[in-house]
Each structure stands twice: as C-alpha cells, then as structure tokens.
Subunit: 412 residues, 2 copies
C-alpha cells in the first residue's frame, strides 16, 4: 500500500516551524512496514492544497493530510476537500456536538467563528479529537482513503495512532509486519553494516541511519503468522546483539540517558557530575528523564579553574602542571564531586569544545572523561572529536553516558 | 516566481533522519521574498523521483532537488534527471576534473565507482561543490530551472547560497526584497498580532510564528530602489520595537543566550547559576555560545536538598519551612552561588518539571527564578507553566535568561 503525507501551513513553508509530525508519522508507519512514497508540504493556499490532493489520489492508496482544520480564515482544508470530493460542506451534527462538549468541558463559550470547525465535506466519517477542538474526518475517493487531521503535534499523533494505523492495518489484511528500533553508539554506519553483512533475506530487512552521534538500526520482519513473526524478531534481535555486543545500548526505543538511569536505579546508585566543556549538557540529559531525582544527586559546572579548586578540591598545582584538560584533572574532578556529594559514582568531564582554545598537543575536540566509584577506584579516558562546538558538547556527553553505562554493566 | 523543493532519500522517508535542509532553505528563500509553494520528499525510487520532477515542472519556475548524487547504487538522481531532460548521461570532463582534484587533495584514490559522480545529464551546467566530492548541476526544462544539489547539509547550504540564490536573484531582476527576523518572548502570537495591527501595507508584510517558547516575526519589505528599501526596513523595525518594547530580544538572528552573553560582556559582569528543575539546561544554553567562558563563572545543579545546603548555604530550616520550591529558597540559592563564586550575578531556579511532584498549591509547572546581584540586591519571580517535562525545563530556562536580560538592560 502506497501512503502519502501532505502537510499544510504557511509556517512550514517559511522555515519558521520545523515539521516534526512527518518524521514521527514516517517512523510509526515504516515501523509497521508501510511504504511512504511521497511527503508534500504546501502553504495555506487553496489551489496548492487542491493540487496536492489531486496528485496524491493518482499515486497513493492512503493519504494523511495534516493542518488547516482550525477556525481562522487561513484554515482552508475542509473547504478545499469539499471541492476535491465534489460534495458540499455541511454542518455536521456529530462534529458540532463534539465541539460543544469540548468547549463546555473547558468552560469556554462556543463562538460563531468556532462553528466553522463543524463544517465537514458531506458523507465524511468524523474522527473525534480527544485532545483539541478541531475534529478530523475521513473520506474515500476512487481507491484512495484520505485522513484529514489537525496539525498540532499532540493531536496529530494521537489521531494517527487512534484512527489511521488501525484503519490501514484493517485494509491491508493478512500480511504481518513488525519492526524494531535498535540504537547503537561507538561504531560508524559502515562498521555496523559490515558487522551485519549477510543478515538480510526474504523475511528480514535492515535500515541503518546516522542519528548523530548514534547509529540507529531498524529491523523489519514479515511473515504469515503471529508466532512466526515473533520468533523471527527474537532470533534476529539476538543475532544482532551478539554481533554488535555492547555497542547496542537500546532495543526498546529508550534514550541513552534513560538506559543509564534504569541501571542506576537497578543498582540503587546515585550519581554526581563535574562538567566543564559540556557545560551542563550531561546533567540536562540525565534530568530530562522523569524520576531522575531518585539517582541524580547533584552536578557542578566548573567552568573556571577557581571553581574546580573550590568546589571539587582539585589542587591548583595539578591544574598548573597538567592543565585543566588532562587525565589527572578529570579524575580529581570525578573523585572530588563523588566525595563531596557522597554519591556512589562521580563523573568528571573536561575538554576543548572550540572554536578557540586548542593547542598543538590538545587541539579543539580533545576531551577527557573520568569516572570515580566508591568501590571501584578512579579512571579516565581521552577522546579526540571533531565538529562544531555543539557537536563536540553532544558527543562528549554521549561518551560520558556510555562510559557510565558500560561501567554499570560490568560492575557486578 | 514559484519555487519548489524536492528532497530525496529513503532515510527521510522512514523517519530516522530529520530534514533540516528544507527548513534552512525555506528560511533563506522566504527571507529574500521568494514564494515556496511545494516541498516534496521522496524515497530512493526512480519512478517516484521522476514523477516529482515532472509535476514540479508543471507548476514551478525554479526547483531545488537535494540528495542522491553520491557514488552508491541508491544514488539515482543523475540517472533520473537524464531521463527527465531526455538527454544522455555523459562523463562530464569538468566534473571529473573536480572529482580528481578533490580526491587528490584528500590523499584518496579515485576508484571506478566514484567516477559515477562525474556522469551528468548532457548540457547541464556543473556546480562545483567545494565542501564534498559530489558535484551539483543545473539545467532548464521549459520555463523551469532545476538545481541538483547534494543532500549533506553543509554542502547543500553552501551551494544554495553560492549558486541558487544568486541565480534566482538574477532571474527575478529589478524588484528588490529584503526581510528581517525579529524574535520576541513573553507575548502570545495573538498578542503580538494585536500589537502590530494595521502595520501591513503594499510594501510590508509580517509573518509571525511560534517557535516555542518564543514568537518569531518576519518582516518583509519590497520596493524599487535600494535606498527606499533600507529606509522602509529601518522605519518598520523602529515602529515594531516601539510597539512591542522589551518583548523583542533579537533583531539580528541571535539566540537569547547570545543576547545575554553580549550584555554580560559589555558590562564586564560574570554570572553563576544554581539550577534545580532546569537540571543544567540554562548552563548548557549559555555555554553553547563560543567564548562564554569569559563571563560564565560556574554552575551548580543542586537537585538534592543536601546539595542546596552544602553548596549554596541554603539553611535547611528555610527548605523545611518554605519548601525547596519557594521564593525564599531560590533567592537564597541565587545569593549563595553569587557569593561562593564572587560573580556579579547569581541566578537560582527551582520548580516542579513533572510529571510527578506537584501539589495543590504548587502544581506541576510552578517555577521560581531568583536573581542576586552584587550591587542591586536579590529578588525573585513566580511562574506557572504547563506542558511536558522538557517544555517546562525549556521555558524555565527561557524566563530565567529573559529576566537576566531585562535586569542587565535596566541596570544602568
């Protein structure tokens, strides 16, 4: 089944808003094995929207249209759809009832202008929007089914999951497809591909893509029966895990910081950070995870040498003799923050994120990460990265998280 | 002139890669007043690419195609373009010369497979790629000009700036268009629109869009002469600044953290942070700016109460009586980190990012920000936000940066 996605909205066309709906939908749909052939974005322009609908109908069996269902004059989708389906727009009683209910729940008055959202092309199926006011609708033309959904990401996603995916599954019938996302860090894309050579066959396809600084891998299996497909997925996941070893950090869609958080919680460990070049990014990532206060004790961003000495007890003689970016100093930072906070693990990061500050023996991109643990002593690693300031910060936080992950996995 | 953008690549269709080229190109082109009508994304599929080219030629005067120019079998663009233009693919001597030069410079051997990149539809104009190996090319069909560019963001952007924009400007001729991006924080989109009512006319258009948590405004002016257009832009910028006051934080494209950094540098102030609910995000934003070590002294992420007491000297009795999320505690945090670091400014942030941890009088989204300055004493503000954990962290870092900005602007 060929699927096509059409996004509408001037804000998408002038570059001010990034279209996160498409990426999300593409990921969900390809995860179910659906083939998305085209993605078109058009502004709030009747002719452009009409043209996009007309073309999509000629080449796709399912079309998801997002945006333009609101109450303002630049919301044109229902009007254009009515012209496209050659049916009148009519006040849909069900849509009006839903709208009235939604406004009542929110204690808002339903103005005449809001009723516009209840005018739907005649004969369409209403798709109730539980997360906002604009109802969606579904209609067929020829052999193509069209889903019209609001553009607000939360509403769009919920309605793709609630209506579009089940309907598409119903329409394709028997063939069973399942897929899984496997996230790796530490190998390049070509190295991952090399390790997995010969794994693809009639039942299994692999797609691997760079998601800086990680490489993500999607494994898709298809088969006739539910048992068969579960067996295939389990087998291939095992095989991949064996070939890639601990470069694989996630098989359930988790972020690296979630994986680290789960390991910390499992071991009942707390962690404290002393960051220099990453400037708080590692702490920010760790604290993006709900409930991270259970294991994240504190962080220090010791940008100045003075703060390294005062906060963390790094001897000023050590900074003078070895430099702030050195194995000795990150180890001292890691140990200092661990002792100070009484956490099980202390992490120190220091490096040169650039664009200035590099030297011949420590060029921009030189980064040291130190780990100090209550039981296991203190060690550090040196890395050499390249890229922009933000890329170097990001990959530095990544190697630090990954070192913690590996340390926790081996720390039995 | 109607412009259309076609992106190719399976990685874009399965949701694993987010398309940053389109957003960037849309922003650059609309900044010059060009009207982008369609944006199509297709996978690595000959028929799909051909179909996209065919349709674009019927409705646009300029088409930018990105991706598919590499040496591997799934790079199909040149082959499809040759079919579309109805000319043979031929080994282009200029393209080959550029390729050979590029490989020589990098000390790499030019393999037979790499020569594929020098096969270009006959009669095309070669667009040299100074940042990678794949040459681009330009060709006309009917009244439409096509630009074929590599998909690697750095190369794509450089080539849009180097070739596409000058060529499009040349083609539209006399009409002069200029635009400017104005960034605001603190008003809703409808409030900004309300304040700017009546400002648009034949010469000036406004486009405002939400860029959470900021509202960005693009002002586009057009006219016949260079002097006129500069006068118009200056006049309208002044008018907008007057109407929106200090809700405007940037008129040169700077991020809020850059604006704050520039003000700190101007005043020769240093800053130190004590973050709780933002978990390092404010420090991360400040240190994303190159050279921020000049004014960023240190940061503390005091997630645990113990760290608030130990690091910052917040009295444990205060935390007990007022709660960790309170005006008194953020003021004590701000003052504590300022005194500790001897910085001119100390900032304290504490709040409930959720999803757990809320209560009746301090629900999820309650955030306090405190500012303490050497000269000006200490004060704090309470905010109430809603959204996901990451949204609450983001808007909290934004209000804190914005409070610092306003404090520095008024602190004469």
């Amino acid at each position: 089944m060929k699927i096509e996605i059409i996004m509408t909205g001037d804000e998408l066309m002038c570059g001010l808003t990034i279209d996160t709906n498409f990426r999300w939908a593409a990921d969900s749909l390809s995860g179910l094995g659906f083939d998305i052939k085209y993605h078109t974005t058009v502004g709030d322009d009747k002719d452009a929207i009409f043209e996009a609908l007309r073309i999509s109908q000629q080449r796709s069996q399912a079309v998801i249209v997002s945006g333009g269902l609101g109450p303002t004059p630049d919301d044109l989708t229902a009007e254009v759809a009515s012209r496209f389906f050659e049916v009148p727009l009519e006040l849909n009683e069900m849509a009006l009832g839903i709208l009235e209910k939604r406004f009542r729940e929110r204690g808002m008055e339903l103005l005449e202008i809001n009723k516009k959202q209840a005018y739907i092309p005649k004969g369409s199926k209403i798709l109730e929007n539980l997360w906002g006011t604009a109802p969606g609708f579904q209609s067929d033309k020829g052999n193509t089914v069209f889903f019209f959904l609001p553009g607000v990401p939360k509403e769009f996603r919920a309605m793709v999951e609630g209506y579009v995916l089940p309907e598409l599954r119903r329409r394709i019938g028997a063939r069973i497809i399942r897929s899984k996302l496997i996230k790796t860090f530490g190998l390049r894309e070509s190295e991952v591909a090399q390790e997995l050579r010969g794994l693809e066959n009639n039942h299994v396809t692999l797609g691997y893509r760079s998601h800086y600084p990680e490489i993500h891998l999607r494994i898709t299996v298809h088969s006739e029966t539910d048992e068969e497909i579960n067996r295939l997925l389990t087998d291939y996941e095992k095989e991949i895990a064996m070939r890639l070893g601990d470069y694989v950090f996630s098989t359930e869609g988790e972020e690296l910081e979630e994986v680290v958080g789960n390991l910390l919680r499992l071991k009942k460990y707390t962690i404290a950070l002393a960051e220099s070049c990453t400037g708080g990014l590692m702490a920010n990532r760790i604290t993006n995870v709900p409930g991270s206060s259970d294991y994240f004790e504190r962080g220090v961003i010791s940008y100045s040498n003075k703060s390294k000495e005062e906060f963390l007890g790094v001897p000023s003689s050590l900074i003078k003799s070895k430099g702030a970016v050195s194995a000795e100093v990150v180890e001292s930072m890691a140990e200092g923050v661990r002792i100070l906070s009484n956490a099980e693990l202390g992490i120190g990061i220091s490096g040169i994120a650039g664009p200035g500050g590099g030297s011949a023996d420590k060029p921009v991109g030189t980064v040291y990460v130190g780990i100090s643990s209550k039981q296991g002593g203190t060690f550090s690693r040196r890395f050499q990265f390249s890229g922009t300031r933000e890329e170097i910060k990001l990959i530095s936080s990544e190697v630090a998280l990954d070192l913690v992950r590996k340390f926790l996995l081996n720390d039995v």
